[in-house]
């Protein structure tokens, strides 16, 4: 008992700490708007980061369309589709978590974020399974790469793009899951209130962005072969 009451005393104090405005702001709304704007600007940066690799994808796919189609046939279509569904669902739970934060429903917030984290881990596991399959299949670029089709080099380039794009995406997923873990931790201690939940909102924005990246990677990599047997 005493331990839990101490914990709640802690969380109350922290909540108060948090609640007090940072000195450069005049009011809560201004602080929240600033935080949100900062996140959107950061996402613009992230968009350009992936944009660089996608430029490479466009240029090379334009140059070697047949090899890219052939490479795409080796994608695990079901795994990719399942992962898309998982990420969209995770996004739903994150959006619902923000909703809970807005209403101050602490338990719901914690639960929904935990489900989203779990789905994120599922996504990463399936991704890992796909990588493993590609490894066994000798489709990882490098000395072990094997290709029976007519155009091995450009097919290898497709796999280079595949691993770089999904690899950087997976890295963002790992970061996203870790951020959610932090948010869950603080949410459980009652740090977020209807007035102050900028971190929840910003973490959600980041998570949705990572989701959007995947929404584009999925058709770019998985859906260009026309036959997925």
């Amino acid at each position: 008992m005493s331990e839990s009451s101490q914990a709640s005393a802690w969380s109350v104090r922290e909540a108060l700490d948090r609640d007090s405005l940072h000195e450069q702001y005049a009011e809560h709304d201004q602080q929240r708007e600033s935080a949100k704007l900062g996140m959107w600007v950061f996402l613009a940066t992230e968009v350009m980061f992936f944009g660089g690799m996608i430029t490479g994808y466009i240029a090379y796919r334009d140059a070697y369309p047949a090899a890219f189609r052939a490479g795409s046939v080796h994608m695990l279509f079901m795994a990719g589709t399942l992962n898309t569904a998982i990420l969209i669902s995770a996004s739903l739970f994150v959006a619902l978590a923000v909703h809970a934060a807005q209403l101050g429903e602490r338990k719901t917030l914690v639960w929904f974020l935990s489900i989203a984290m779990f789905l994120g881990v599922c996504f990463l596991s399936i991704k890992g399974y796909e990588y493993y399959e590609h490894w066994v299949d000798h489709k990882v670029p490098g000395p072990s790469f094997q290709w029976d089709g007519p155009d091995p080099r450009h097919a290898e380039m497709f796999f280079v793009l595949y691993f770089f794009l999904t690899g950087f995406h997976a890295l963002h997923m790992v970061i996203g899951v870790s951020i959610l873990a932090f948010i869950v931790y603080f949410a459980a201690r009652g740090r977020y209130t209807p007035e102050y939940h900028n971190p929840v909102e910003n973490a959600a924005l980041y998570w949705h962005f990572v989701d959007i990246v995947w929404i584009f990677l999925y058709p770019m990599l998985y859906l260009i072969g026309h036959k997925h047997v």
């Binding site: 660089g52 430029t55 090379y60």
Partner: protein, 551 residues
């Protein structure tokens, strides 16, 4: 504005003396202290870069490669470029003057995210340490452009750590810029409308936009180079049908706008100085602000003019040449408007003004030679020669470094609370101007005549011009060392500046020098436009020690 004696200044805690001890600096979130932390870091890096420049110029005294080995020389120009661009020029005005001034100029107590601001300084330092590690473990010899496949498969130096250092330091400038963008949007004082912002804030804002949208491209290019080196396979591998030009596209998508990162803040500084020492509002405020935004946006449309001979299609070369001329128009507007700002003004030729005038002259020459390079027929001949080297040094050193020095002199009284010695300031400005032109003007000639850049040995008929250039560089070096000396001197012996030694417009001059930690006791309310010099005293009386004692 009572400039009172030392003992009487007790009404407030200025930001420097508010707290003491090394911890109070390392864990500060005060934007002014962070600006000074940045000043220390970039000054350190500047002298490393200058050391490389010194070795380059000494090697080029003679046509034969007799001072250092070819490999060493290649490392010198590579690391000179990387250190100066990523560790000095890009953070120079934004991270030092921008950090110090933006909150003061818009009437805010701090930037929007003070902890992030401190974090970006630490990230900068991590990047710098990684780069110094690269230097100490043998250096880099890829050229600052990291062109593939030379960087990915051929050179043997430590490309991975070097490229990752650039990657890391890129994050530092992204975070600083993100901070500025939000600060300018959300923390302006009541009445500080966009139409009343000082042009320095406009310029810093535009710079921040460029950094936020461009830097991720250099980050990803560096990451891809590093990964390709680690795995031996990647995006740019010609064996897999990878295109070396793809790297150049991605690289220049950032690195051309980066040139505007290295000049726009300078333009902002010059606008502040020109108005103050002409005692007059700026000529054409609106078009000046629009020109800044125009440069920022159009700057993103011209990158492939670095690739006219690289094997891009003729059609796209024509498009990029055309667009390059469009971006020259706003720069022209700025030069004409600065000149017109002096018209019917009341001109004071004090040190910052000397730097501002030097800036206009040097930037004009740099910009005009840019027109040569944008012209396809000329570019084919002079690209990758000393003509290009001279051109971008006129913009980056003649422009940005001159503006940085001008800004440092202009705001030194605000930063330190003390006046620098005016006489020495003028001498240093003159030395710098002469040294600079002597160093870089001969290089225009060298380029057209046929001297390649990045050449360790050169044909003997180029020696006279190279000797001139090296001589100029020595003069220039003295010009840079002098201010270091007298700024330090002034910290102890300089006359007290008072709030507003220049009688300049702008909120930063309404607070004591150095400002208090919280900048403003009461949030100011702005009621007039920027540069309302008709509301200010007509004269500038530069504080001198004697007058302080006398009052």
């Amino acid at each position: 504005m009572a400039t009172t004696g030392q003992l009487e200044v007790t009404g407030y805690d200025d930001f420097i003396n508010a707290k003491s001890g090394i911890k109070s600096w390392l864990f500060t979130t005060d934007h002014k202290r962070i600006a000074l932390l940045y000043l220390t870091s970039i000054t350190f890096m500047f002298f490393i870069g200058a050391l490389f420049a010194l070795i380059i110029r000494l090697e080029l005294l003679t046509p034969k490669g007799d001072l250092v080995q070819a490999d060493t020389y290649n490392k010198m120009f590579t690391m000179h470029g990387l250190v100066m661009i990523f560790f000095f020029l890009i953070p120079s005005i934004p991270a030092v003057l921008g950090n110090f001034l933006i909150p003061l100029m818009i009437g805010a107590k701090d930037v929007a995210f003070p902890k992030l601001n401190l974090l970006s300084w630490y990230i900068y330092d991590v990047g710098a340490i990684m780069f110094i590690y690269t230097i100490l473990t043998g250096g880099l010899d890829t050229g600052w452009t990291f062109y593939t496949p030379l960087s990915t498969s051929f050179v043997t130096s430590s490309v991975v750590v070097g490229a990752l250092a650039i990657f890391v330091v890129g994050f530092s400038s992204i975070l600083t810029s993100l901070n500025f963008i939000v600060t300018v949007h959300r923390l302006r004082a009541p009445g500080m409308t966009w139409g009343r912002l000082p042009l320095f804030v406009w310029a810093s804002y535009a710079t921040a936009v460029i950094i936020v949208l461009g830097t991720p491209l250099i980050a990803i290019s560096m990451a891809l180079v590093a990964l390709e080196r680690i795995f031996g396979i990647g995006f740019f591998d010609p064996l897999l049908g990878g295109d070396p030009l793809l790297f150049q596209h991605l690289f220049w998508f950032y690195s051309h706008p980066a040139v505007y990162v290295m000049i726009l803040p300078g333009m902002g500084v010059i606008s502040e100085i020109m108005t103050c020492f002409s005692r007059k509002r700026v000529f054409g405020y609106k078009s000046m602000a629009l020109a800044i935004l125009g440069i920022a946006v159009f700057g993103f449309l011209v990158w492939a003019h670095h690739m006219f001979v690289a094997g891009i299609s003729v059609y796209s070369a024509l498009v990029f040449s055309f667009l390059s001329y469009l971006v020259a128009v706003p720069s022209a507007i700025k030069v004409f408007n600065w000149t017109a700002t002096m018209y019917r003004g009341s001109v004071y030729l004090l040190t910052p003004m000397l730097y501002a005038l030097a800036f206009i002259g040097l930037f004009t020459i740099g910009g005009m030679t840019g027109l040569f390079l944008a012209s396809l027929g000329i570019d084919v001949h002079v690209t990758d020669t000393y003509f290009v080297v001279a051109h971008f040094h006129y913009i980056m050193v003649g422009g940005m470094v001159t503006a940085f020095m001008g800004g440092m002199h202009f705001w030194w009284p605000k930063i330190s609370g003390r006046m620098y010695p005016e006489g020495w300031g003028k001498v240093a400005a003159a030395i710098m101007f002469i040294g600079f032109n002597l160093t870089f003007f001969p290089q225009f000639i060298l380029g057209y005549v046929g001297m390649n850049r990045r050449y360790w040995e050169y044909a003997s008929q180029f020696q006279v011009l190279n000797v001139l250039s090296t001589a100029g560089a020595s003069v220039l070096g003295i010009g840079y060392l002098l201010p270091l000396g007298y700024f330090a001197w002034s910290l102890r012996y300089g006359a007290r500046a008072g709030n507003n030694p220049w009688n300049a417009a702008g909120l930063e001059w309404t607070v004591p020098s150095p400002p208090a930690t919280h900048n403003f006791d009461v949030t100011p309310v702005v009621t007039s436009e920027a540069y309302d010099y008709d509301q200010l005293p007509k004269d500038i009386v530069v504080p001198r020690e004697a007058s302080v004692v006398g009052e």
